[in-house]
Symmetry: C2
Subunit: 287 residues, 2 copies
């Protein structure tokens, strides 16, 4: 009797460096993974830290730092999937980054929004493959299953179909929430974006704040030799008073022109269920 | 017949690198100066650019840049007083800073909030005496005459009584709105705060944003060798959901401890009529 060959297990650890994940959201993501990706080998491991609560955060800074370090360094896991954004990633213990081991350096790390602090820092340190992409908490959005399935196709099957098109062209890329990028650069821990296409997206910030943030980013030495900027979706923009008179794309074009960095058009990323996958760096060449 | 000796005229030019000043606010500030400071030699010159309007801004970037450069470089003026904050200072033409002349280098420049972009950059470039202090638009606050009179006592009479106490102790100081400081540092144009006491204040930002901004500032290489941080008032803080559980002072103490920079207590600055005067750098020694 022959046995159907089953794909190797892809163990994905889920931790929450920022805000807590609701248990029912985790259950829905687990059910979706079981129903559609178990044949492909998906095995999701929700670290209990995801469900801790301490004020704004998914547990204390110590608990969040320890959980991240634990799963990153554990050779049993192939990927670390960040549970939810909000705020908190910048508060992880600085010392953990120097303690990431060889197993941590082989992993994929996926998230977006506040997690840009971790993704950017890992990338600056050359650790693993940071990936901008959907998070488990996206299950709470209307149509969120689409985003979760997209993330799992990439994490479990290595499917490149939902990788943002500009991230498939051979150029080095990185993607960030704009406000997080400003803070990451100010902290002195941002990568140097020389020769990179940098994609940004924003949510719930006024036009004047988008302009102010782009002023800072595009004036930064980190962006001086960037290959270009791409503008993701800017959603839920509060009304400016007085009217700002410029769209977010006009704002981006203006700051790119002023900085002498090419504006390369719209990126298919944002705080929504259409948010596409952006693996940082240059795509691996297929042998 | 002897003539009463009249003080030398102190010519103060008022321009608006950010948002426009209302003509009636200018009229009230002019009347206050005439009534109480004309004997002391005060002569206020409101540049017509203050009253221009282009969407969010007091005229185009070109108009605001040109007006600032004009009054800064004019030897007839002793001081440049910024009219109002909001947003726009970061959009001034970069090239004007290199065109500031010898007259510009002898002047006092006063403002706060968004004007931190200009004050910080002038200070980084060693041009004149940037001063954090009230602006003409403060006349619109309840009790705003107090703030205007304080500014004029300093600008016209050189009165040191309303200089923030920590700025009178001999240490080098600088003062900023926290959000503006994050953006200034990210832009690569912030001063190095080595051996400086840095005062910060904030308005209308959630506790999580104050924490996030302090994370960036206190992690920045610009702050590595600072003599200390002082926390001004953080006003109109929107309610955090979930509750942040820490006060702004606890937040400041935490990030100072983590950065190894002394927390030196509260500073008497803020977005209010009590906002005190902070001349950047070390106080001039009295001969």
């Amino acid at each position: 009797m022959t046995k159907a060959r089953r794909k190797a297990t892809r163990n994905i650890a889920i931790v929450a460096p920022a805000c807590a994940l609701k248990p029912d959201a985790a259950a829905r993501v687990a059910a979706l993974a079981e129903a559609n990706f178990s044949d492909a080998g998906a095995a999701l491991h929700f670290h209990p830290q995801c469900f801790l609560s301490e004020g704004h955060f998914a547990g204390s800074d110590e608990a969040r730092s320890a959980a991240f370090l634990e799963v990153a360094n554990d050779p049993a896991f192939d990927a670390v999937w960040f549970a939810r954004g909000g705020y908190g990633s910048a508060r992880l213990d600085d010392a953990i980054y120097a303690r990431l081991n060889a197993a941590a350096r082989r992993k994929v790390y996926m998230g977006y929004s506040d997690l840009g602090f971790v993704l950017g820092r890992l990338y600056a340190d050359g650790i693993g493959t940071p990936v901008h992409g959907p998070m488990p908490a996206d299950i709470n959005r209307a149509g969120g299953e689409t985003a979760i399935a997209r993330a799992l196709r990439y994490l479990v099957q290595g499917d490149q179909a939902d990788v943002e098109p500009a991230a498939r062209g051979g150029a080095k890329v990185a993607a960030f929430n704009l406000t997080i990028l400003v803070h990451l650069i100010a902290s002195g821990r941002a990568p140097n974006f020389s020769a990179h296409i940098v994609m940004i997206e924003e949510v719930s910030e006024h036009h004047y704040r988008i302009d102010r943030a782009l002023a800072a980013v595009m004036s930064s030495p980190n962006m001086r030799d960037a290959a270009g900027l791409m503008l993701g979706r800017c959603s839920d923009i509060p009304e400016n008073d007085p009217p700002f008179l410029k769209t977010e794309e006009e704002i981006a074009r203006r700051w790119c022109a002023r900085a002498g960095v090419p504006y390369l058009g719209r990126a298919d990323i944002g705080h929504d269920v259409e948010n596409k996958i952006v693996p940082f760096g240059a795509p691996a060449l297929v042998a």
